[in-house]
Symmetry: D2
């Protein structure tokens, strides 16, 4: 009864998923691997005592593979996702679902043809216990209607190859998905403010920046993206509602008092901060798939993230607000 998973494109994230599935997750096993680099596929397959497939298509269509995980480079996602759909297999695809909204639409078309939601996009924050508690408080009506959300996404540093649009497409995309999920609404406009730049990193980068999103009902979300903040991986979120505000907790394990003050240790990367969320995300996916159920972000979420990211990137160079237009939501994703 173990779910036999085929992994496409195991780089850092894919290998981390394999490690989780084989050491701390119930009910699944990665039994097949493919990669654009066949040597990598072979090496990983050997480590897990699995099969290396020459192509992702062969892996997807193998009768020995029950479900698919895609951790390859974003631009390569679309054909594999569609192939998995056509094979009638559940597929977990790392974010982004695809780099363009048009590709996401193609995926949704294939999925609608299949008549069933098969695609899960890897937005792990929906599985973080703190965000979930925040959403529960909001959904339970304990603080009234949401009016604003203040977010911050801070990384200690990024490498030189990090480009300006990655601040939206790789970094802010997490808040974009999480806020859509938290609020249960789409965004209708994006704007980017450009504060004074830090001198402690590359000249080519506008860092920090502030992405401002407005939802259908008017909720205003601001997201400070500061990827060279030096001090830690610091994810902040404060929901301001009509009758109260809710903030993510400090995530402290212990605090100490010593000559440096009363203090706790900060997380330094997303694996530290969201390590448990990744585990929960993959566990819930394996559990759901084993029961023939969908879970997590779906193709529409992947599409919506792409559309909002496009607007965010446009806003990087636009003067003022950039409107966001989406296609009508297909019934499958209602």
């Amino acid at each position: 009864m173990t779910l036999r998973i085929g992994m496409i494109g195991p780089g850092g994230m894919g290998k981390a998923h394999i490690e989780r599935i084989h050491t701390v997750i119930s009910g699944g096993r990665v039994v097949a691997v493919s990669d654009v680099n066949p040597d990598n596929a072979k090496a990983v397959a050997e480590q897990i005592d699995g099969t290396a497939y020459a192509t992702s298509a062969e892996l997807i269509n193998s009768p020995d593979v029950d479900a698919i995980m895609i951790a390859s480079y974003g631009p390569a996602h679309k054909p594999d996702v569609i192939a998995a759909i056509e094979a009638g297999k559940y597929v977990f695809c790392e974010k982004p679902l695809a780099p363009t909204a048009a590709e996401c639409e193609e995926i949704m078309a294939a999925e609608q043809k299949a008549g069933k939601k098969l695609v899960t996009v890897g937005f792990m924050r929906r599985f973080d216990a703190s965000y979930r508690e925040m959403k529960k408080i909001l959904d339970d009506g304990e603080v009234g209607e949401a009016l604003m959300v203040h977010c911050a996404h801070r990384n200690p540093t990024v490498p030189e190859m990090y480009t300006w649009d990655m601040a939206i497409n790789d970094t802010a995309i997490h808040e974009i998905d999480t806020m859509r999920w938290l609020l249960g609404e789409e965004f209708v406009s994006a704007r980017v403010d450009k504060p004074k730049k830090t001198s402690l990193r590359f000249e080519h980068l506008q860092d920090p920046l502030v992405l401002i999103l407005t939802s259908e009902s008017g909720v205003r979300v601001d997201d400070e993206v500061f990827v060279n903040c030096q001090y830690g991986y610091d994810i902040q979120c404060e929901l301001v509602a009509e009758q109260g505000v809710v903030r993510l907790g400090d995530q402290e394990l212990v605090h100490r008092a010593d000559k440096l003050g009363r203090r706790n240790r900060l997380t330094m990367d997303h694996n530290q901060r969201f390590g448990q969320a990744f585990v929960t995300e993959v566990q819930e996916w394996i559990t759901a798939v084993s029961q023939d159920r969908h879970t997590g972000s779906d193709s529409w979420d992947g599409y919506a993230a792409a559309v909002v990211c496009d607007a965010g990137v446009a806003a990087l160079t636009a003067d003022g607000e950039v409107p966001i237009t989406m296609i009508e939501r297909p019934a499958l994703y209602a």
Copy 2:
């Protein structure tokens, strides 16, 4: 050696200052009172065993009065401030110094003629221990250059007479002054974002709103103004700098754990939150004046606040950013 103070226009704030001066502050005494309502002047004078003057001019020019406090209605400030300057007396004027930038310029002209800074504007947050600690950390270079500041100014509720522009002129004016002081810079533009409105208060009000200011060097300040937040008087400030962030503490006296969780009590109004700052402000003013020194916000600060508020009010109805232009800073205020 007690400083003999004349109080003009003792309403709620003026009476609170008298109470402070007479019960918990060293070195001063309110000995004279005037008011547009002579009965009020008389009543207050009686309580403090002082003299009621028929006009503010008489009070200001009395040889029995060493220094002046003005707590009257803003539009009435200018002539009294100028009269005090012309009398060569130090004057503490509640904010705003005057409702328009033009009036503030007249005051600065009079002060420059006097050749000496005599005017202190009542921005009490500069005397709050937490804001002072934040400024010290910044000025000491412990976190590098400031890049952004996230502020929130939340009141439980406001009365129906509270109008839209008061969100800027009465409420955000505090962050405007405090941020100018914290950063040691002027602002060059203002914008107002309008989130979803709370349903828990008057239809005529855009509440909350977000005022966004940019400083000369590019520091971006956002100030969430939410004056019907229901739950408390909650003043937040997070300074984001190149090497670290600094936030105002929780101001908790105690915290408890009981059936409602682990919690502390929130302050419910500005007197609770800034009670000690008011005391320190007036104490430092009396001490300084007794030593023939200026302290606190000066006329230029009053002018700058007026100019920024004008831009903020214009931004309420403008589409996008409103530029802020100030006159050249006179040497007296360098």
Copy 3:
């Protein structure tokens, strides 16, 4: 390669372990069950599609069972633990290992004869991320030598059948094991202080009480045991060392501000507070056993807990300190 586990005595705790193993843990499966109540064994076996054995001995010796979990009533533990040892199988035994030190010695004798550590006692706090961080800080020498530890173990309420000695044997036993592990030392004396009793629970109970333990090197541990504190399941621990103190964090997911103050939600029972620790404990046991390694608390820890509990129970009625004497530590447990 899945570890086939036999479960003896699945009541509440045993069923929770089965649920974990089958839904969120990797590498194991409960395939066999036995119980003093054969109907319960049959019912559980049916649910998990496993085999019900008539006796624990049969289950332990079945060739279809790789490792044993014992979740039966404490007084029943010893023979099953010894039978597992004699069968050469790893055995996870819920605390207490056995109710008396003498029985624990018998278990150690069997284990020494086997020449290998096979027994793990279910003290889950060693697997809690916060306690582990505290121990790491201490072991890394970041705060110098430990001098004192202040603990509190608070439950909302206990049922009427909870007797006085259970405050030691069922409740404080957790701090006894955790402190031995944290400090890496044995305790040499115990005392119990009896504060004013809460009026909000049964007359027969001395609640709260304070257990005071002294370690070999003189570290003083106090443990406030308050099992009818009404407000929550609140586990506190503050390590006081030569150069700093370390406290368990608040475990808050989010905090909110509303009309009740700034607050977070408290955990209400040990499953909420230590849910993840239970998962980690069982996961690490399954992983270790699959690699033929021991992990977690061993028989000596079970023995030491029994001895300290005996002293603690004696201290309930003694006047002053009760000395603690242990046998010499066998080489197997060095």
Copy 4:
């Protein structure tokens, strides 16, 4: 109407009081000084433009002095306090009121003869906003009856001349008074536990130690006294009551996040931590005396502190609990 105060024995504490009275406190002025060292009296008198008296008796009986503050060495307090009482003048005496219970009884006898409470003992914590909030919560019945209090009194270091008994008489005396006031009860026994000693200070000192007090109704107070904790001046207090617990807040002005974690700055001495409490204490005393009212700790409080300290010192070398016996409380102090 300014209260004319005579200061006896202005050392560090006395000079700090003078500074407060002359710079941040309303309604009083130190006009007279005496000291066992006449040069010191003269020097201080000169600074404040006051009169140096040759003896404390002359100062006390001067018609130019309305009220007395005593900041001399503890053993010198009694005759001056009694002289002030006999002169019918209010007297603020720094702690301890007198080093022995017998001397305190003499003072109470004099005061009863005078028929009026004239003596205030300088226990400043009763004026700390956090302790007051804790007491208010308890007195308002918000958490039910008090059962235990956990205190810690930590100093960074003490000088070599600090002797063992000072841990009780100079350090723990603050918790002794504060707990009597918080609980509204007397203590009936004392015990001292001796944890492992810090290696970071003098061999002659038992540091830390834990003083355990039991009140009439059975409330158990433990006070960790650790005067070479290295890291800060850290005063902790957690009240455990039937329906909830209350802890002193962190006293943080701001917290920051930087490479050392999320942290706030600790206070390093009692002036930092209790600076405002000292101001409030002296202000309330001056206000009360000006209105012919008593305020703060009285002679009975001074006596009770002496008796409990005696028991605490005895407990340093006793085996187990030391009973505390007090005289019957005179009606004047009911």
